[in-house]
Structures are given as structure tokens and as C-alpha cells.
């Protein structure tokens, strides 16, 4: 039995669809951000898998994932700052009660 590329791609696909489900169904903004993190993580994993199995002599996929992780950290920090600001002005983090951004 061989661990081929498909074996690594299938858990990644399931993680991606779980993220899509959470992003559609969640109402809390932090929970939506967590689902987004799942989607991003599965994309990162795909880059690395394709790098290893299709171009094993290079490391472009790995470098791309490194930059993607750095940018994801920046994006999460700003998003959480915005969520905390919204919480201060309207008292909860529900996506439906933040219909307009000005407060």
C-alpha cells in the first residue's frame, strides 16, 4: 500500500468543505473567522502536497505557504481588532446586528 498524493488531498478537501459549511451557517463573527481559517489551512496544505508530489526538486510551494501563513496571521489580527471594536459599539458579535458599520 502506497501513500500517494490522493491520500493527502482527501482530508484537505473535507477540511475545506467543513470550512464552507461553517462560514455559511455561523452567526458569530469569531466563529466565521475560525471557519475561514479552516479554508485557508486546507489551501496551504494543498500547496505543500502539490510541491512534494509533482515538483519534488523545488520548494516554491513551501515558500508560498510560508508567505500565506504570515499574511493569514496579519489578516486575523486586523479582523479581531475590528470585531472587538464592533463589540464595544453594539454589545455583541452577531453578524446580523452589525448591518451598518458606522456607529
Amino acid at each position: 500500500m502506497d501513500l500517494s498524493m490522493l491520500w493527502y488531498l482527501v482530508p484537505s478537501v473535507i477540511m475545506f468543505t467543513a470550512g464552507v459549511f461553517g462560514f455559511v451557517t455561523r452567526k458569530n463573527m469569531i466563529a466565521m473567522l475560525i471557519s475561514l481559517e479552516l479554508i485557508l489551512n486546507s489551501a496551504d496544505l494543498n500547496f505543500v502536497i502539490f510541491n512534494r508530489f509533482l515538483f519534488p526538486g523545488q520548494m516554491e510551494g513551501m515558500i508560498f505557504t510560508l508567505f500565506a501563513i504570515a499574511i493569514a496571521a496579519a489578516e486575523t489580527a486586523v479582523a479581531i481588532a475590528i470585531i472587538i471594536n464592533i463589540y464595544r459599539s453594539i454589545g455583541n458579535t452577531d453578524i446580523n446586528s452589525a448591518k451598518e458599520m458606522r456607529h
Partner: protein
């Protein structure tokens, strides 16, 4: 041919990854959801290690599991009571979510299993085919300006992080 230990480890981690990512989006307590996300991130880091990218696995653990998870837990504790449960899903929303994710799952799996490119060699062969990525090579690739070297994106990310620090402070400060 891969070793039996490798295959057993793969199965344990893959099942953990699938189960915890589904539990992340279905549990009603948000702090538990963040904890399950941590397990998903750690199993991803294990996959990076198994695929032969040790540095990337270490970065995944340090940045995601160490940095972003702390941010999530702090922001959850700042904005909600930890025991508070999310409201039950409405019928309409649940139908929409399940149909969207099932459709995308079926389409993606169909594409994966139809693609002849993907039914290739085993992991051991591919690791043997590629040369070992040393820390020195990664360092040269990050700060060089030749082909396949990435000084410009590296500097762009550093400016982005600076902008992000300032933006975070400005947006979240008390007025």
C-alpha cells in the same frame, strides 16, 4: 512502498483532522470550536513534517498554534461568556450550508479521482527524488534577488506586518 509505521501514523492523523474539522464547525460552544481548530492545525503541522518540510511544520506550530490561537481565545473571552451556547440553526440556514458543502465535496472528490496526474508515486519515492531542504537553502531563497529567490515578497510582508500592527492598535484602541 511506504513503511507500515508511516501508514498507521497517516491514518491516525488524517482521521483526527477530518473529525476535528467537522466538530469545529458543528459544536455550539465557541471556545470548544477554537480548541478543535487547534487540533486541526496541529495535525496539519504533522502532515508537513511527514511530507519532509520540517521548517514549515515548525512555522505552522509557532505562528498558528502559538500566535493565532491565543488571539482567538483572548477575543472569545473578551466578547462572550465562555458557557454561552450559539443559537440553534434555522432550518433554512442548515439546508443551505449542508447543500453547499455537499455539492462542493462531491465535485471536488469527483475531480480528484478522475485526474490521472494524481495517482502517482508513493511518498517515500518522492522524498527520495527531492533533495533535502536545508535551513541554509531556505535562508538563501528568502533573501536573494535571483530567479526563485524572494527578497521582494519578504520585504513586502514585513511592511504589511508593520501596517497591520498600526492598524490593529488604531482600530481597537479605546476612544
Amino acid at each position: 512502498m511506504d513503511s507500515v509505521a508511516n501508514i498507521i501514523l497517516y491514518f491516525i492523523v488524517a482521521i483526527a483532522m477530518v473529525v476535528f474539522s467537522v466538530m469545529t464547525v458543528t459544536t455550539r460552544k465557541i471556545l470548544r470550536s477554537a480548541t478543535y481548530l487547534l487540533f486541526v492545525l496541529l495535525s496539519t503541522a504533522f502532515f508537513y513534517f511527514q511530507l519532509g518540510y520540517q521548517f514549515l511544520g515548525a512555522v505552522q506550530i509557532a505562528v498558528y498554534a502559538g500566535g493565532i490561537m491565543v488571539l482567538f481565545v483572548f477575543s472569545i473571552l473578551l466578547t462572550r461568556h465562555p458557557d454561552e451556547k450559539a443559537a440553534l440553526l434555522t432550518h433554512h440556514k442548515r439546508f443551505l450550508g449542508i447543500s453547499l458543502s455537499v455539492v462542493s465535496l462531491v465535485v471536488l472528490l469527483f475531480a480528484l479521482f478522475k485526474m490521472p496526474l494524481l495517482h502517482g508515486k508513493s511518498l517515500t519515492e518522492m522524498i527520495a527524488a527531492g533533495n533535502d531542504i536545508t535551513m541554509q537553502e531556505i535562508g538563501h531563497a528568502l533573501v536573494g534577488t535571483e530567479k526563485f529567490q524572494y527578497l521582494l515578497p519578504f520585504e513586502a510582508v514585513s511592511v504589511l506586518l508593520l501596517a497591520c500592527i498600526i492598524g490593529g492598535v488604531v482600530v481597537a484602541r479605546k476612544r
